[in-house]
């Protein structure tokens, strides 16, 4: 088994303190025919941490996300959320337990307004969705939460626009706002900067930094942008061919020779 991957444990050491584990995979495996996309992965994410998963294309990162968020069921292994087995729970139940997820490919409600996209996320967390005789707009708190989330990602001015008309970078931020409005404790972000123009990345970085600083949410993300990963992460897990290759803080990962040869390559060794 790879590196210093965590095994069944409910506390995890990071940043000098013992922290509770929020989500944990135990021997998580998913086959696609003969391909072992995810192959016996053990990973534990500390509550309140910023944890990045990196690895070359095809390493199984997105499949791991699909398994952790309940979007896909594993061939074997378990997913534990705060020690509770959520492996076989339906998607909407997992969402209610505080797991929110963004997608690599933008995944919003295209012909609804930006505000309605986010308002639906807020409404999903409440208990009013079956009040068929009430007017949706009467539940002000959902709209307020949506507007607050849009403010956090800097999209407040576009609340009335139709989601499909947003530029790509704004759609990525809309996805973040959806997660924030859902008030998930654990945010699984699948390549939040994917397809974004270079000049928009710092803006998103700032949003992520703000979320981490102000909300105490746990963020687990898959990301190819090493600048984002190295500057924000408390912990980095490196995946390679469906397995965990290494795990550690950014400095340890940057210095790890196995990781360098598998993924980071020569270029990164000389970077600051």
């Amino acid at each position: 088994m790879g590196g210093c991957a965590a095994h069944t444990q409910d506390k995890k050491y990071y940043g000098g303190t013992l922290s509770e584990v929020i989500i944990q995979a135990v021997g998580l495996t998913r086959h696609f025919g003969g391909l072992r996309a995810v192959d016996g992965v053990d990973i534990a994410v500390a509550a309140g941490s910023f944890h990045a998963i990196i690895g070359p294309n095809g390493a199984g990162k997105t499949t791991l996300f699909n398994l952790l968020s309940g979007f896909m069921k594993p061939t074997s292994g378990q997913v534990l959320l705060r020690g509770r087995d959520i492996t076989r729970l339906p998607l909407h139940r997992i969402a209610h337990l505080g797991v929110g997820r963004s997608f690599q490919i933008t995944n919003v409600f295209p012909s609804l307004s930006v505000l309605e996209n986010v308002r639906l996320a807020a409404q999903a967390q409440g208990r009013d969705s079956l009040k068929i005789w009430a007017h949706a707009a009467a539940f002000r708190r959902y709209e307020e939460r949506a507007r607050h989330a849009l403010g956090l990602v800097g999209l407040a001015a576009r609340a009335a626009d139709v989601a499909a008309t947003l530029p790509h970078g704004d759609k990525r931020r809309l996805e973040l706002a959806i997660l924030l409005a859902a008030d998930s404790e654990l945010l699984l972000l699948d390549e939040p900067t994917a397809g974004m123009a270079t000049e928009q990345v710092p803006l998103l970085l700032e949003v992520l930094r703000g979320i981490r600083r102000d909300t105490g949410k746990t963020i687990l993300l898959v990301e190819h942008n090493m600048g984002v990963v190295m500057s924000l992460s408390d912990m980095i897990t490196v995946m390679h061919q469906g397995r965990v290759l290494a795990e550690g803080d950014p400095a340890a990962i940057a210095a790890n020779p196995a990781v360098q040869s598998a993924y980071l390559g020569e270029a990164y060794r000389h970077a600051p």
Binding site: H92, Q123, K131, A137
Partner: protein
């Protein structure tokens, strides 16, 4: 505090007022009594529009709002008319009890169809719903139940209470049908504006995303199919009262296609669109029939294609686009075609 009524609200109120005055205006214009001749005939025409409007609107809840493309909507409409007929004619129930029975049967039927068909989606769901409707169509035609359903002859001679006779009390029936359509519209609007309605729209837009947000989409789809089914069944019951019979055609594919046509002509996802679509289908059908005889559907087909080309979101849906975007839409659609034709000629 005075609630501000939006322009669309005033337009709706004006339309209802105009429909209330219509029989009397017709009587004044033609000089005939309100219960005879042309006024009576045109009341009948609009009564059918009102009934079809409710049926079309029920389909819109499913297709336009929740994104479920059912090919079995006639099932609810037809069953509603048969339940009413059987309850009045064979069970001798009073009208209100028969109406209640329509609701009970429709709820049971929608839940069964929903639970079995919503396991699949897309084309498969469409085919499963079609199969259900065909099943009941065959059941209604079966000679085994001739005593109850009249088999291929249909259930004829449903005894309607004299006070609601569609022939002798035409004006009264007109207002009952108008009230029925109005109440159903207000109920449907209430549903689509509710938090539940918002989730239905989310399902239409992107169902996996809705699930990921924490919505058990199956439950919401089941609610949509049930409300839609009950509404269609009540329209079917109303239709049986109007025609004094229930027949197998009401359960047939043609009836489902009509719902689809009315919804697309008027504009899916707008409630009023499909109601307008019902009016267009009914009135245009009448005039085309008068002008071209029994081959009128040929002409109607052409009209339908033109509507879909020029009003891609239906009459109401396209109207709601701002004027400028409609023009640019036509320019995009036909400008490119013209450009391509010019290029081809070179």
């Amino acid at each position: 505090m005075i609630r501000r009524i939006p322009p669309a609200g005033w337009a709706g109120a004006a339309l209802v007022a105009a429909l209330c005055l219509f029989p009397f205006a017709m009587a004044m214009i033609t000089g005939q009594p309100v219960g005879e001749g042309a006024p009576k005939f045109w009341q009948g025409m609009l009564i059918q529009v009102f009934i079809l409007a409710v049926y079309a609107m029920s389909y819109d809840l499913l297709m336009g709002y929740t994104g479920i493309l059912s090919f079995g909507h006639a099932l609810f409409f037809g069953t509603g008319s048969y339940v009413l007929g059987i309850m009045l004619k064979h069970a001798g129930w009073p009208l209100w009890q028969a109406t209640l029975m329509i609701v009970v049967v429709a709820v049971a039927q929608s839940l069964i169809v929903g639970v079995l068909s919503l396991r699949v989606s897309g084309v498969y769901l469409t085919m499963v719903t079609l199969a259900f409707a065909q099943m009941f169509f065959i059941l209604a035609e079966a000679t085994d139940f001739r005593e109850w359903t009249g088999a291929e002859d249909g259930l004829q001679g449903i005894p309607i209470p004299a006070w609601l006779s569609p022939t002798d009390q035409r004006l009264r029936f007109y207002f009952v049908a108008l009230g029925f359509a109005l109440i159903m519209y207000l109920l449907a609007r209430r549903v689509v504006n509710s938090p539940t309605g918002a989730v239905m729209v989310a399902i239409r837009e992107n169902e996996p995303r809705a699930r990921m947000l924490g919505y058990n989409t199956f439950v919401y789809k089941l609610i949509a199919i049930t409300i839609s089914g009950v509404m269609a069944a009540l329209a079917g019951g109303m239709n049986a009262i109007w025609n004094l019979n229930a027949n197998t055609a009401m359960l047939g594919v043609g009836t489902t296609i009509n719902a689809l046509l009315m919804t697309i002509i008027g504009g899916a996802g707008s409630l009023v669109g499909p109601m307008l679509g019902a009016g267009v289908l009914q009135l245009l059908g009448y005039w085309l029939n008068a002008a071209f005889g029994p081959r009128w559907p040929l002409i109607f087909g052409v009209v339908y294609i033109l509507i879909v080309l020029f009003f891609p979101y239906g009459l109401v849906g396209t109207w709601r686009l701002r004027g400028g975007s409609l023009l640019s839409l036509w320019r995009r659609r036909f400008g490119e075609a013209r450009q391509a034709a010019t290029d081809a000629r070179r």
